[in-house]
C-alpha cells in the first residue's frame, strides 16, 4: 500500500461516521464509541500516510471524476502535504480518544448525532485541504472545514454569546476565503489565461513563472486570506470569541490544527507556486508575526477565562510560526538556502509542537470545564488535589508552551533564535534594524508566555478553591480523556528530547521548498544532539538536559531521604490573623496587574472602584465594588469603523427599497434600457 492509498482509506473511514451516526442515533453510547473509534482509526491512518510519505519522499497524484463537468477534482500527496497530514492526524487521533469521554459527559439532552457528523466533516475537511491539488477542490475543502467548524462553534446555540461568536467567525472566514479565491484567480490567469479552465490545477500554477506585479498581488491576497484564518493580528478578533465557546475537543482541533492549514497554504503558495519573490514579502510576514506574537501574549495575560487565554496564545504561537516563515522567505530571497531551511524547519517544527501542546492544553481546559462547570479562572483554585492527572498533564502543556527545556516548545523557539543569530549582514538597512528587534521581541514573547502560564496554572490548580459550590463535587476526568491528554503530553516530551529524529525526517521538506538542508547531527550518538550548523556554533541536547536534571534530583532526593526525616503538616501560617479566606488569595487579575500597568497603553482599559452602600462612615466603606474591563484596541481601531461604514452603506442602499410596485417596475425598465444601450 502506498502512502496515498492509506490517506484515501483514512478519508473513507473519516466519512463513515457521517453516515453511520444518524443510523444508530438511538443509542447514545453506541454512537459515541463507534464514531470516535472510527475517527481515531482514520486519524491514525492519516498519520501513517503522512509519516511514510515524508519518509519515502513520494509524490502521488490522482484525478477524481467528481465535481463540475470538465472540472475534475485533483488530489496529490507530496511530502509537504504529508507533513501536515501527520500534524492533523496526530492531534485528531488524541482528540478522538479524548472525545469519547468528553462527549459522554456532555448534558444528556444535547443531540449527539449533529455533533459527531460535523466533527467528522471538520477533520475530513482539514485532511482534504492539504490533499487538494486544484484551486476548485481546495476551496471546496476549505469551505467544508469552515462550515463544519461554524456549526461546531454553534453547538451550544442557546447562548447569545455563542451565536455572536459563530457569526463573527463565519464572516471573517468568508472574507478570507474570497481573498484566497481571488489569489487563485490571479495565478490561474497567469498560468493559462482565461480561455480554458486548465490553469486552475496546482500543477499549472507550479509550472508558471509569474511577473513580479501579479505575483505580489497573488501573494498579498492569499496572505490576507490565510492570515484571516490563522488569526494574525489585526485579523484575530474572531479567534478569542469562537475558540472558547466551542466544545473543548473542537477548540483543541481548531486551535491546534485548523489554524495550521493556513500555514500550509502560505508555505504552499509562496515556496511552491511563486518561488521567486523580493525580500520585503518576508519582511511583511516577519513584522506581522512579531506583532501577533507580542500582542497575542499580552492580551492572553489579561484574560481570566481559561479558554480565552489559550485562544489568545494561539495568536501568539501563529506569530512565532510566521516569524520563522518570514525569516525563511527573507533568506530565500537573498539566496541563502541553508539559513532559509533552518528558519523553515523552525517554523514547521513549531507548527507540529504547537498542535501538540495547544491541543493538550485545550483538552485539559475541557476537563476542568466539565469538572467545575466554569471557564472563569477566578472561580477555581486548588484543583490539583481533586484532579491530579489533569493537573499534571496540563502542567506539561504549560511547560511546553512556555518554551522551557527539555520540552518541545523550547526546541522550535531555539531554532528560531538560531535563525536570527546566524543571519549575516544582508545589506538592507531595514533588515539590519528588523532582525535584532525581531530577536528582542521574540525573547520578550517567551518571557511573557512563561508569566502567563504561571498565572494560568497557579490560579486554576494551586492554592485554595475559590468557587461557589463545594470542591467535593469536582471530579477527575474519565479514563479516555486522561489517555487522550496523556498521549499528547507524551508526544510533547518526546518531541522535546528527540528533536533530531523528527528534524532528520523533515529534511525533505526544506530540500524541496528552499533547496537547503540543515545539518542535524554530528558524530556518534547523533540522535542526541541538535546542531543546525556545526557543533561549534550551537548545540543542544534535550535528552542530556533531561537526564542530567533527573540524575541530580534523584541523588538529592535519595541523600535526603536516606535518614527517616519527618514532615509535619500544619495549618497555614496566617500571621495571627485567623480569618484567612480563599478570597484573599492572589487572583488572575491581580497576578497580571504589574504587567497590565507596564503595558497598559496597548489596551483599552476601564477600571473603576467605588464603595457600595450601606456606608457607616465615608472613610470606612463596608464593601467595595471593583470593575475592570480590558479590551482589544483593534475593535475600536478597525472593526467598529468598518461596521459603521457597512451600516451606513446598507442604510443608503436601503433607500432603493421603497416597497411600491411602480418603483420596482421602473428599476427593471431602467435596467433593461441601460443593458440595451451598453450591450446593443
Amino acid at each position: 500500500m502506498t502512502p496515498f492509498d492509506i490517506a484515501i482509506a483514512s478519508l473513507f473511514l473519516m466519512f463513515a461516521p457521517v453516515i453511520l451516526a444518524p443510523c444508530c442515533a438511538r443509542s447514545r453510547n453506541l454512537t459515541i464509541h463507534l464514531s470516535f473509534s472510527l475517527t481515531a482509526a482514520a486519524s491514525l491512518a492519516a498519520v501513517i500516510a503522512g509519516i511514510l510519505c515524508v519518509h519515502l519522499e513520494s509524490t502521488t497524484s490522482a484525478v477524481v471524476q467528481m465535481g463540475l463537468p470538465d472540472l475534475p477534482f485533483h488530489l496529490r500527496l507530496d511530502p509537504l502535504a504529508g507533513f501536515f497530514l501527520c500534524v492533523i492526524g496526530l492531534l485528531a487521533f488524541f482528540v478522538s480518544i479524548y472525545s469519547i469521554g468528553y462527549v459522554k459527559a456532555m448534558p444528556a439532552n444535547r443531540p449527539i448525532t449533529r455533533f459527531v457528523v460535523f466533527f467528522c466533516l471538520f477533520i475530513a475537511g482539514m485532511l482534504l485541504v492539504v490533499l487538494a491539488d486544484d484551486a476548485f477542490f481546495f476551496l471546496v475543502a476549505w469551505g467544508l472545514m469552515a462550515a463544519s467548524s461554524y456549526f461546531l462553534v454553534l453547538y451550544e446555540d442557546e447562548k447569545t454569546e455563542n451565536r455572536r461568536a459563530a457569526y463573527l467567525y463565519l464572516v471573517i472566514a468568508h472574507v478570507g476565503a474570497i481573498a484566497i479565491l481571488l489569489s487563485f484567480g490571479v495565478m490561474a490567469a497567469q498560468a493559462n489565461g482565461f480561455e480554458t479552465f486548465q490553469g486552475y490545477t496546482f500543477d499549472a500554477m507550479r509550472a508558471t513563472s509569474y511577473p513580479l506585479g501579479w505575483a505580489t498581488a497573488a501573494f498579498l491576497l492569499s496572505f490576507f486570506g490565510f492570515a484571516a484564518k490563522a488569526g494574525v493580528i489585526p485579523l484575530h478578533v474572531w479567534l478569542p470569541e469562537a475558540h472558547p465557546v466551542a466544545p473543548s475537543n473542537v477548540s483543541a482541533l481548531m486551535s491546534g490544527v485548523m489554524l495550521k492549514t493556513s500555514i500550509y497554504g502560505i508555505v504552499r503558495i509562496t515556496f511552491d507556486f511563486l518561488k521567486e519573490f523580493p525580500w520585503w514579502w518576508g519582511g511583511i510576514v516577519l513584522v506581522l508575526g512579531l506583532v501577533s506574537a507580542v500582542l497575542g501574549v499580552l492580551y492572553a495575560l489579561m484574560q481570566h477565562d481559561l479558554k480565552r487565554l489559550l485562544a489568545y496564545h494561539s495568536v501568539e504561537n501563529i506569530g512565532i510560526i510566521l516569524i520563522g516563515l518570514g525569516l525563511a522567505m527573507i533568506f530565500t530571497s537573498f539566496h541563502l538556502p541553508l539559513l532559509a531551511s533552518l528558519a523553515l524547519i523552525a517554523a514547521l517544527y513549531h507548527t507540529l509542537n504547537h498542535a501538540m501542546f495547544k491541543g493538550l492544553l485545550f483538552m485539559g481546559a475541557g476537563a476542568v470545564l466539565h469538572a467545575t462547570h466554569e471557564r472563569n479562572m477566578e472561580e477555581m483554585g486548588g484543583l490539583i488535589h481533586r484532579m491530579p492527572w489533569t493537573s499534571a498533564l496540563f502542567l506539561i502543556g504549560c511547560v511546553s508552551i512556555a518554551a522551557l527545556p527539555p520540552f518541545n516548545g523550547f526546541v522550535s523557539e531555539w531554532l528560531t533564535f538560531q535563525a536570527f543569530l546566524f543571519s549575516p549582514a544582508l545589506h538592507r538597512p531595514i533588515l539590519s534594524l528588523l532582525i535584532p528587534l525581531g530577536a528582542a521581541l521574540l525573547a520578550l514573547t517567551g518571557a511573557l508566555a512563561a508569566a502567563c502560564f504561571v498565572k494560568a496554572f497557579g490560579v486554576t490548580f494551586l492554592g485554595h478553591w475559590r468557587g461557589h459550590h463545594h470542591i467535593q463535587q469536582v471530579r477527575e476526568a474519565g479514563w479516555s480523556m486522561r489517555i487522550g491528554m496523556l498521549l499528547a503530553a507524551l508526544t510533547c516530551f518526546l518531541l522535546g528530547i528527540f528533536p533530531t529524529v523528527v528534524i532528520t525526517w523533515m529534511d525533505v521538506l526544506s530540500r524541496q521548498m528552499v533547496g537547503g538542508k540543515i545539518a542535524t547531527s554530528a558524530g556518534a550518538f547523533g540522535w542526541m544532539w541538535l546542531t543546525p550548523y556545526s557543533h561549534e556554533r550551537a548545540s543542544y541536547s534535550g535528552f542530556n538536559v533531561f537526564i542530567g536534571i533527573l540524575a541530580v534530583v534523584l541523588v538529592a532526593w535519595l541523600l535526603l531521604h536516606a535518614r527517616k526525616a519527618g514532615i509535619r503538616r500544619v495549618p497555614i501560617w496566617d500571621c495571627g490573623f485567623e480569618k484567612l479566606t480563599p478570597r484573599m488569595q492572589y487572583t488572575a487579575t491581580s497576578f497580571a496587574m504589574p504587567i497590565r500597568r507596564i503595558f497598559g497603553f496597548l489596551f483599552a482599559i476601564r477600571e473603576e472602584s467605588h464603595a457600595v452602600e450601606p456606608l457607616r462612615h465615608a472613610a470606612y466603606p463596608q464593601r467595595l465594588q471593583y470593575r475592570l474591563r480590558v479590551r482589544d484596541r483593534f475593535w475600536g481601531w478597525i472593526y467598529e469603523p468598518l461596521r459603521e461604514i457597512a451600516f451606513f452603506l446598507a442604510r443608503k442602499i436601503g433607500n432603493l427599497q421603497q416597497g411600491r410596485i411602480q418603483v420596482y417596475l421602473l428599476y427593471s425598465f431602467v435596467t433593461i434600457i441601460v443593458l440595451l444601450v451598453f450591450l446593443g
Partner: protein, 314 residues
C-alpha cells in the same frame, strides 16, 4: 581521556557546590564591613545550610506535590547549569549539552517552578511574590538573552565554550556592542540574583520582598536546598559574566596545572567582582516596584542597542 575530562567535569561540579556558599558569604562579609556592621565570616552560609538540613520540615496542610518537588528541581537545574558554564576549563564534556539560549531558559525553569510553589499554599504573600517575580522576569529575561546574543554574534557562536575561546584567544578588538551588552548584563545580574536595587535578599518586609515572598513557606531541608541553589545561582551568574566578558585565564585544555592556575585566577576575579557587587548595592537604594520598569526597560534597551550596533556598525 574521556574519563579524565569527566573527572574534570566532576571537579567543576564539586567546586560549584562547595565554593558557592563561600562566595555568598564573602559578598555578605564585605557588605557588612562596608556598612559598618559586624559580620559572621564567610563560612556562615555553610553553617546555615547544615543547620537547615537537620531541621524538621513544616508543611502547610494543603501543600501539593509541586511545593515539595520544587526545591529538588531548583537544586537539580542549578547544578545542571553549573556543569555547563565553563569556569575551570573550556574542555568540558557537558558543555555542549546546552548553549547560552538553553542556559537562559534553564534559569527560566527555576523561576517558573519557584513561582508556582509560591502560589501553591494560597497565601497572599506567595502570590504577590510570584506575580512580581514574573513581571520582573518578563523584562529581565529578554534583556539577558539580548546581552548574550550580542556577545554570541561577536563570537559567531552560541556555544559558551566557543564564545570563551574566541574572546580569550582571539584578536582583542574593542567593540561598542560589547560595552552595551556588559552594562545590560550587570543590570540583569543584579536583578536575577535578587539584589538591591531590585530585591533585597535579607529582608522580610512585605512591601519590598519578591524572591523571599515566594519561598516564605519553606522550611527544613527544602529551604536548605533552595538557599543553596540560590547561592549557586549567584556564583553561576558571576562566573558566567566572567566567562563571557572577561574570560582571560580560563584554560582551554584539561592540563591540571593550568586548571589550578585558572582556578586561582578565578578566585581573584570573583573576589573583585564580589566587592564591585557590594559597592553597587551599598551605593544604591532599593527601587520602588514600579520604578523597576524603567530600570529593566533600560537594561533591555541597552542590550538591544548593543545588538543593533553590531548589525549596523560591524
Amino acid at each position: 581521556m574521556i574519563v579524565y575530562s569527566f573527572a574534570i567535569e566532576a571537579l567543576q561540579l564539586l567546586l560549584l557546590l562547595l565554593a558557592a556558599p563561600a562566595f555568598a558569604g564573602w559578598v555578605r562579609t564585605v557588605k557588612c564591613r562596608m556598612q559598618g556592621r559586624s559580620y559572621a565570616g564567610i563560612f556562615q552560609p555553610y553553617r546555615d545550610i547544615a543547620r537547615l538540613f537537620t531541621k524538621e520540615v513544616i508543611l502547610a496542610e494543603n501543600a501539593s506535590w509541586i511545593f515539595r518537588f520544587t526545591p529538588y528541581l531548583v537544586f537539580g537545574v542549578t547544578v545542571m547549569i553549573g556543569g555547563i558554564v565553563p569556569f575551570i576549563s573550556t574542555d568540558l564534556p557537558f558543555a555542549a549539552t546546552a548553549d547560552v539560549i538553553a542556559l537562559v531558559m534553564l534559569f527560566a525553569i527555576i523561576r517558573f517552578f519557584t513561582a508556582l510553589a509560591g502560589m501553591d499554599i494560597g497565601t497572599a504573600f506567595g502570590g504577590m511574590g510570584s506575580s512580581r517575580e514574573m513581571m520582573i522576569a518578563s523584562l529581565a529575561e529578554p534583556a539577558m538573552l539580548m546581552a548574550i546574543f550580542t556577545v554570541s554574534l561577536a563570537g559567531n557562536s552560541t556555544s559558551l565554550t566557543r564564545m570563551v575561546q574566541v574572546m580569550a584567544h582571539g584578536e582583542f578588538v574593542i567593540r561598542p556592542s560589547l560595552a552595551f551588552a556588559l552594562l545590560a548584563y550587570i543590570m540583569v545580574h543584579l536583578t536575577e540574583t535578587g539584589r538591591i536595587p531590585v530585591d533585597n535578599p535579607s529582608t522580610h518586609l512585605e512591601l519590598t520582598m519578591i524572591h523571599e515572598a515566594m519561598i516564605l513557606e519553606y522550611s527544613g531541608r527544602h529551604l536548605a536546598l533552595i538557599e543553596w541553589a540560590g547561592q549557586m545561582k549567584l556564583f553561576i551568574f558571576s562566573t558566567l559574566g566572567i566567562a563571557v566578558f572577561c574570560p582571560w585565564g580560563i584554560p582551554a585544555s584539561n592540563d591540571l596545572l593550568a586548571i589550578i592556575g585558572g582556578g586561582a585566577l578565578l578566585a581573584v576575579k570573583l573576589a573583585v567582582l564580589g566587592v564591585i557587587l557590594v559597592l553597587i548595592e551599598t551605593g544604591m537604594a532599593k527601587m520602588r516596584l514600579f520604578r523597576l520598569t524603567e530600570y529593566l526597560g533600560s537594561a533591555f534597551l541597552l542590550a538591544t542597542l548593543g545588538m543593533l550596533s553590531f548589525f549596523i556598525l560591524e
